[in-house]
């Protein structure tokens, strides 16, 4: 694919070759992301960051990516004080921002907002999360983490654990992993299990899928344990939340039978899903995962603005 001018709205718009190309370029960006090497790749370019709802990692890593590549950014971290609060449509905000910048990064609480933005923008739009919808850059950094920390994606056995029903990152990740040769196990309490249409579509795309209720069932086999946050508000009362939260908690006991080179991932922020005692073990890949957001977003910014091919 020629990425120049392409909107990145959903990871489903990308084929396997596109994903691998982005990850290859992201690998090369690591020394720049770490500040070990300087770059002026994006010199003279402006990124508009339109964050209609708060975000820490995503916004900061986009801004870090742009600054490390010698570019600049403008925008807002929350809509208070902007014309959005005065009732301006998203379409008009996008038309305005596209006149002021070379690339737009948008996070918005409504599903489909990034797709809408792409229709009204003259410059490429990157979706940084639209409500409960898509979050393609998170998926790409997740894939980068699996590839770098386990050596490859093909052939990997991946257990997705926690809130698989409402978690936006796990749906996108499932579709992306299904483009590779992977075994996916969805580990969740029945009320938070992966929606059947996602499991079905992943199967049709070629992934081998299975469901499980407890981590013990899969921990010995898994190469990757991808943990998500279980939100309290999904449960009728505190007691039923605690019961589930304890079953899916990752600590050293839970990892006792894990493969030696297995990794634990988490999109962060974590609450109590992963005990801090795991942080200093070789299993912990979640902080590296957060770092990989920077090189991944560098690669994408370079590609869609046409400074990289």
């Amino acid at each position: 694919m020629n990425f120049k001018g392409t909107h990145i709205v959903s990871v489903r718009d990308l084929c396997r070759e596109d994903i691998e190309h982005i990850l290859d370029l992201a690998d090369g960006m690591i020394p720049i992301a770490r500040g070990e090497k300087s770059s002026s790749l994006m010199k003279g370019k402006i990124m508009a960051t339109l964050f209609f709802e708060p975000s820490t990692r995503t916004r900061l890593s986009f801004e870090s990516a742009m600054l490390r590549l010698g570019g600049r950014f403008l925008g807002f971290a929350e809509p208070g004080g902007t014309s959005v609060k005065k009732g301006e449509t998203l379409a008009d905000t996008i038309r305005m921002a596209s006149a002021y910048s070379d690339v737009i990064v948008i996070r918005h609480p409504q599903e489909g907002s990034a797709r809408l933005a792409s229709k009204f923008s003259d410059v490429p739009v990157i979706n940084a999360g639209d409500g409960a919808g898509q979050h393609p850059t998170q998926t790409l950094l997740d894939l980068m983490t699996i590839r770098r920390e386990t050596g490859k994606i093909d052939g990997r056995k991946i257990a997705l654990v926690g809130d698989l029903k409402f978690g936006r990152t796990v749906h996108s990740l499932t579709y992306a992993l299904a483009k590779f040769d992977t075994d996916l196990t969805f580990v969740a309490p029945p009320s938070l299990q992966m929606p059947p249409e996602v499991v079905e579509l992943a199967g049709q795309m070629g992934a081998r899928t299975q469901l499980a209720n407890t981590l013990e069932e899969v921990v010995e086999e898994a190469d990757v344990i991808y943990v998500t946050r279980i939100q309290k508000e999904r449960f009728p009362d505190e007691a039923s939340y605690k019961k589930v939260a304890n079953v899916f908690k990752i600590d050293l006991d839970a990892l006792e039978n894990a493969k030696k080179n297995a990794i634990v991932m988490h999109p962060l922020p974590r609450v109590k899903e992963i005990d801090p005692e795991v942080d200093d073990t070789k299993f912990a890949a979640y902080f590296k995962q957060a770092f990989y957001g920077v090189p991944t977003r560098m690669a994408l910014l370079g590609l869609v603005t046409g400074v990289l091919e």
Binding site: S10, T89, L90, A91, H108, P109, Q110, E111, G112, S113, R115, L116, K119, D130, G131, A132, G133, Q134, E197
Partner: protein, 152 residues
């Protein structure tokens, strides 16, 4: 003498092979009854049919359907056929075909979809065929819960 369940029309449109029991819904979506129209509309339900066992039929005098209306029929009755009648002769007859994409016809059933906000855009859905027609919102990716209820 053979009694006709619905008499032939002189000019207008015959929608045949509608899924049995769906004729009133199709009629409603076509704006029938229209208080300002005075042409005859005939509706027959559960008519015996060799191909379908049972079918519904609608005949509307003095009206040709617009493309948007044909698309609506295809969504809720994908086997329907449409004949245009002029001077009691069938001048064109064709089966409806499912469009790949529909624009501006349906509303997304996800209340948090951006197309349900006050934005200057039309809804767009990918039409998924199969045993049952499904619509997937091209903005938020969700499947429409009830196609008939979603039609604008």
């Amino acid at each position: 003498m053979k009694e006709l369940k619905i008499t032939p029309i002189k000019n207008g449109t015959v929608i045949d092979h509608i899924e049995p029991g769906m004729a009133l819904k199709v009629a409603r979506l076509l704006g029938v009854p229209d208080p300002d129209a005075h042409s005859t509309v005939s509706i027959a339900m559960y008519v015996k049919s060799g191909k379908m066992k049972y079918k519904d039929i609608i005949k509307i005098e003095d009206r040709e359907l617009k493309k948007r209306e044909v698309n609506i029929i295809s969504l809720i009755s994908p086997n329907a056929s449409i004949a245009i009648i002029k001077d009691e002769e069938v001048i064109k007859k064709s089966r409806v075909t499912l469009p790949k994409v529909i624009t501006g016809i349906a509303r997304c059933s996800n209340p948090n979809c951006i197309t349900n906000k006050d934005e200057p855009t039309e809804t767009e859905f990918t039409v998924l065929g199969g045993r049952e027609v499904k619509l997937r919102c091209m903005y938020c990716d969700r499947l429409v819960d009830d196609i008939i209820e979603s039609i604008i």
